[in-house]
């Protein structure tokens, strides 16, 4: 599990520090938006793990979904479009005592941020990345996204999408994430399990969530998924079997799997970065006082 943080400072507030819950800001999503289920599941997960608010940082990019950090009582960083993961990685490396959760949309993560997605996974950075995959650009009022369906008519593709969609789960398998799951915001409890287990997993945890945009995506609706999703857990899938995970990731159509596709153990970037062996970087000594011998190499 990503170490539940030793607080970087003496607390002064006593032992009973508040755990993550709702903030005083209410979501501004359209009524019925799938993202409500996702924020509920994330809240449920961190509550279950009893993570104190001050030890959790939730990061996002830009999009409807990326407003999520504002609705939780933890620390948050609401950055720019597509750059969730590099910011999250920087935070993890600065203080690997923190629990780091990245959030955002499919456009944010697999369009403009696709490069970072691949690299963060191959590094196996110990963080959890939850994408609210509505297969459309919500905030910009309904253009095609990298996961939009072939033929789907959107504002930017009035004649239908003519590009093959990205499958985030197979991309994650190819890139080396060590915990790969898919959830559905219509099943909050199941999603909360996936997120909580992801947070506890040591390594890069990716949870792609079917989170319907009720306003702009008339194809991938709650009903669409309710009729199709089935749980890998109840289908006898072995999440340690990489080949089986690949096969399941290719399933799309009348039956679409959700649940844990793959999980393995590999050293994390933080394990392998020697400098971090001395503890969270933010708490390590800094500067070169007394290191005069360093100058000898310039003689």
């Amino acid at each position: 599990m990503s170490q539940t943080a030793a607080p970087p400072r003496p607390t002064g507030l006593g032992a009973a520090l508040p755990v993550v819950g709702k903030s005083d800001t209410r979501p501004t999503w359209c009524p019925g938006c799938g993202d409500f289920g996702v924020v509920a599941a994330v809240e449920m997960a961190v509550k279950r793990l009893q993570l104190p608010s001050h030890t959790v940082v939730v990061i996002s990019g830009i999009g409807c979904s990326s407003n999520l950090p504002h609705f939780l009582s933890s620390y948050g960083f609401h950055g720019i479009h597509g750059r969730v993961l590099p910011v999250a990685e920087g935070i993890r490396w600065a203080n690997h005592g923190l629990t780091v959760i990245g959030t955002g949309g499919d456009g944010d993560g697999f369009g403009i941020g696709a490069g970072h997605f691949v690299h963060a996974m191959r590094r196996n950075v110990d963080l959890t990345y939850v994408t609210m995959d509505n297969q459309i650009y919500g905030l910009t009022t309904g253009q095609a996204s990298p996961t939009s369906t072939m033929g789907q008519k959107t504002k930017s593709t009035p004649n239908g999408v003519i590009e093959n969609p990205i499958d985030p789960v197979s991309l994650a398998l190819a890139s080396g994430a060590t915990y790969i799951a898919r959830g559905f915001s219509g099943d909050v409890k199941h999603l909360a399990d996936l997120v909580a287990n992801g947070i506890q997993h040591k390594g890069f945890s990716f949870v792609d969530v079917f989170s319907p945009c009720v306003t702009y995506n008339k194809i991938n609706t709650f009903d669409f998924f309710r009729q199709r999703v089935y749980k890998l857990e109840s289908a006898g899938h072995d999440p340690t079997d990489l080949v089986a995970a690949w096969q399941r990731s290719l399933e799309w159509g009348d039956k679409i799997p959700i649940g844990l596709f793959y999980k393995t153990d590999r050293p994390t970037y933080e394990d392998l970065e020697e400098v971090l062996a001395a503890g969270p970087l933010a708490l390590q000594p800094a500067g070169l006082r007394g290191k005069e011998s360093l100058l000898d190499e310039f003689v």
Partner: protein, 579 residues
Amino acid sequence: MTELAVRIGGQAGDGIASIGESIARSFSRMGLHVFGLNAYQSVIRGGHVWFQARASDGRPYSPGDGTDILYALDKATVDIHGAGVRPGGAVLFDPEKFSVAPSELPAGVTPLGVPTLQIARKYTSQSILQNAGGIGATAFLAGIPLPLLHEVLTDSFGRKAGEIVDWNVGASAEGYRFAEAHGHAHDHALSRQGEPKLLMNGNTAIALGAAAAGCKFLSQYPMTPASSIMHWLAAHSTALGVVVKQAEDELAAINMAIGASFAGVRAMTATSGGGFSLMVEALGMAGMTETPLVVVEAQRAGPSTGLPTKTEQGDLNMMLGAGQGEFPRAILAPSCPAEAYRSMIDAFRLAEEFQTPILVASDLHLSENFMTVDRSEIDLNVPVPSLFTVPPSETNYLRYQYTDSGVSPRAIPGQPGLMFVAGSDEHDERGHLVSDIHAGIPRYVTERQRMMEKRMRKLGGLARAAPLPVLEGPPDAPLTFVAWGSTVGAVRDARAELAAGGKATNLLRFPTVYPIAADAARPLLEKARRTLLVEANFSGQFGRLLRAELGFACSDRLLKYDGEPFLPHEIVARALEVM
């Protein structure tokens, strides 16, 4: 001031830079001041490269205008650089490779054939060892004592290198003795001047300064001429406890540094203009989220990929304008390695104090060329205060509190009770968005205005806290040079030359190019009788900034955009024209 300039030329892959560095380091160990210019092309093998080591008992600030000893590894070097050898000088070459007739050289310059290949063959079949004989002969002509040269060579290979060190020591001694027997030491051959000096290029000074300032995190994507900042810190990462991350691109590099800084470590990134172009949006995010950040922009000749291994000061406009909207920033522009070291300390101090991005404008000429530095100029005792400044007992914590200075108390994730969301969207004092359902509602229109004003108030503080403009030379001189960054070096050397010819000038230099401290700069500019702006770009970008900020127009300009650094004689000629 007695000076002696040694130039070595050949093809990329011939080991020119390492010969040059050995000569430069020998001089600096003799206690001499050195300027080392490493001129190369964007090819790994072939092409033409050269290194000039200019040593002096005074302090040279530029590569200078001539060469006294030219060691030519190929004929092209003689063709290109022979004419620049000053009378009394010599051209070293190996007659087995090509011949040089005295008639090919300027009057008073002697060719000296040295059998470097023949010497090398006594030790090994690897022809690279010819350089050792050449270095030895060069050292003799330049007045470098043989034992000192041997120390330098041994150190550069590392004592573990075994027979390679022995070959180099043996072959260089033979070259030295050959020159002793067949040539004579240059009239300007230098002798020891005291304690060894430190020799460093701008990038190592930048990296060292960052570490001294308390930087614990560098994320960077390779790009000439910024890469060696990463190389130096990576080599010292474990020993110094600095995390060095080669990112997947510059977008990631800057966003990682912002994340690290947000979470409580001093963090930086470094790049050249192309990479900086990709960082622009995130730079604004650092400004908006009020996250301290240091960005080194080592400029090279643009536009686009431009001349990757050549210098320019063409990115000033971009650094000034980078990012949508407006946010406070400062741009520091060190002129030499010693100043680059201090600039980094200033940059981290300012970034932290004002919680905003600080740019350090270097360029290829500063980043990759070598200068000597005295130990006393590198003070490692830099205060590194804790970043945990807000007491956790704080109630009703406002991350973006309105203050007179524009600087608000900054909590760090992990501190109990101070949770907030840093937003790239406009926000109120608490960090709550005012960009969505509140946008345009009168109360939040005011909120937005106040928050803009709060952030922009930092600019005034930055102008006061950043290094002020400096006037060098007699205040009443008839001509004032105006310069910034690495160009300052050649102007200093030109001023010395002009002064030697009885022409007094002074120099107004700007170690901070933005924001300009108007109170400090205006009186100095207004007193100037005539101003000559010297900068390495096409349009006089800094001159334009001075007009915009102070309403001051320089009377004359000398601009250069051929990729080459300014040479003193070019500046002298232009000064004499306008004086």
